[in-house]
């Protein structure tokens, strides 16, 4: 039996927001959810995607922190910012390729998911995985995932030329070995031309305008 790991299966997400509510229950950040429920292409689909911290093996947020406020535990969990150190510069907010850290102006500090460190460090499931009704968020062993799911758990992402390995796995079609986010198409800095996927938005196209909402 391998150790417990976190798996995200985006295709199972039903957008019920149970994970968001469960995350808010935690006393360390009551009322503030550390998991983000993203809407995908709101104009064309109701698909949602839960986005918790992926806990990169080499966390970019910690690398760019000028105040040494983001620490990684020996078991690979990247902690939220240390209260006495965080200076609220939002460098980590800019740097994270998954958009996880959020700057909270009310406390002038960054807050992000810390893998429910108090629970997972003693073998309990994180709150979000505990409540997810469709088990889009699962905290279990790799064997159990391979036994019950058709997808393939991977933890390697490619952003342009940057390869990021994460502690959290996502389930992808079996042929895939790496999630290529394909920044090459999105951001063409050298070419200097507009990214091709941006569609012009009419002023009265409410659905398209809603896409721009967080």
């Amino acid at each position: 039996m391998s150790e417990l790991a976190f798996f995200i299966d985006y295709s199972r997400c039903i957008g019920c927001r149970a994970c968001v509510q469960a995350c808010e229950e935690c006393d360390t950040h009551r009322g503030q959810s550390m998991i983000h429920l993203e809407t995908i292409e709101r104009r064309d689909t109701v698909q949602t995607a839960p986005q918790m911290c992926m806990h990169c093996e080499d966390p970019v947020c910690a690398r760019v922190c000028p105040a040494d406020a983001i620490k990684q535990t020996p078991d690979g969990v990247t902690q939220s910012s240390l209260k006495p150190r965080c200076i609220g510069c939002a460098n980590c907010v800019m740097a994270c390729p998954f958009g996880v850290p959020k700057y909270e102006a009310s406390i002038d500090q960054m807050m992000k998911c810390d893998y429910c460190f108090d629970r997972t460090s003693i073998g309990k499931k994180p709150m979000c995985a505990t409540v997810c009704p469709s088990q889009a968020l699962t905290f279990t062993t790799r064997e159990e995932i391979e036994r019950t799911r058709r997808g393939r758990p991977i933890n390697e992402w490619r952003f342009g030329n940057e390869v990021v390995r994460t502690k959290v796995f996502v389930l992808v079609p079996p042929a895939t070995t790496q999630v290529d986010v394909g920044l090459g198409d999105l951001v063409q800095i050298r070419a200097g031309k507009k990214a091709s996927h941006v569609r012009p938005v009419a002023k009265d196209d409410v659905a398209a305008l809603l896409e721009d909402l967080p």
Partner: protein, 170 residues
């Protein structure tokens, strides 16, 4: 992270590592331990120095003739060097008529003391320290001014009309 990989990191990153287990925080316990052990070492060193000082109370050296026993009248003094040429000493015949000799090196800052006939005492002109000058084990204990310790006494022996220095008693 391996030691080899760490060597390629810039120095500031090695000082401020991202991982908890590579961070070298000085814990409260470490600081307390350092302070306790440091204090214990200081106390031990002081005890050792005091013990070493106590150990050498009297040293005997080869006898050395100073002068004839009747060379000094009461209230007169004579300088000599004993046990070596680097150790200035002073021989005094007190007003009471006793022969005494002490190291001439003031125990405050090593100026040379002189015999002051007016009050029958040894006087250090540098900082106006005053020592007693009489027989007995206490000998030249400090009476006035900055000196805290008595002058070392030179033990004397009068043989066949000559005064000999025979040793140093601290």
């Amino acid at each position: 992270m391996s030691e080899d990989a760490k060597r390629h990191l810039p120095l500031w990153r090695r000082d401020f590592p991202i991982r908890w287990d590579e961070d070298h925080y000085v814990t409260r316990r470490q600081l307390a331990k350092f302070l306790t052990l440091g204090s214990a070492i200081l106390v031990g060193a002081n005890v050792a120095m005091v013990a070493a000082g106590r150990k050498h109370t009297a040293e005997s050296y080869p006898p050395q003739r100073i002068c004839a026993a009747d060379a000094l009248g009461p209230g007169e003094s004579l300088l000599f060097r004993y046990p070596t040429a680097q150790d200035p000493c002073i021989l005094v015949r007190t007003k009471a008529g006793a022969l005494v000799a002490f190291s001439q090196v003031c125990t405050h800052l090593s100026c040379a003391v002189v015999y002051r006939k007016s009050d029958d005492r040894l006087f250090c002109p540098c900082h106006e320290g005053v020592f007693a000058c009489h027989e007995g084990t206490a000998g030249a204990e400090p009476l006035e001014g900055p000196p805290e310790r008595p002058l070392p006494r030179i033990t004397l022996d009068v043989r066949q009309g000559n005064v000999f220095a025979t040793g140093v008693a601290l």
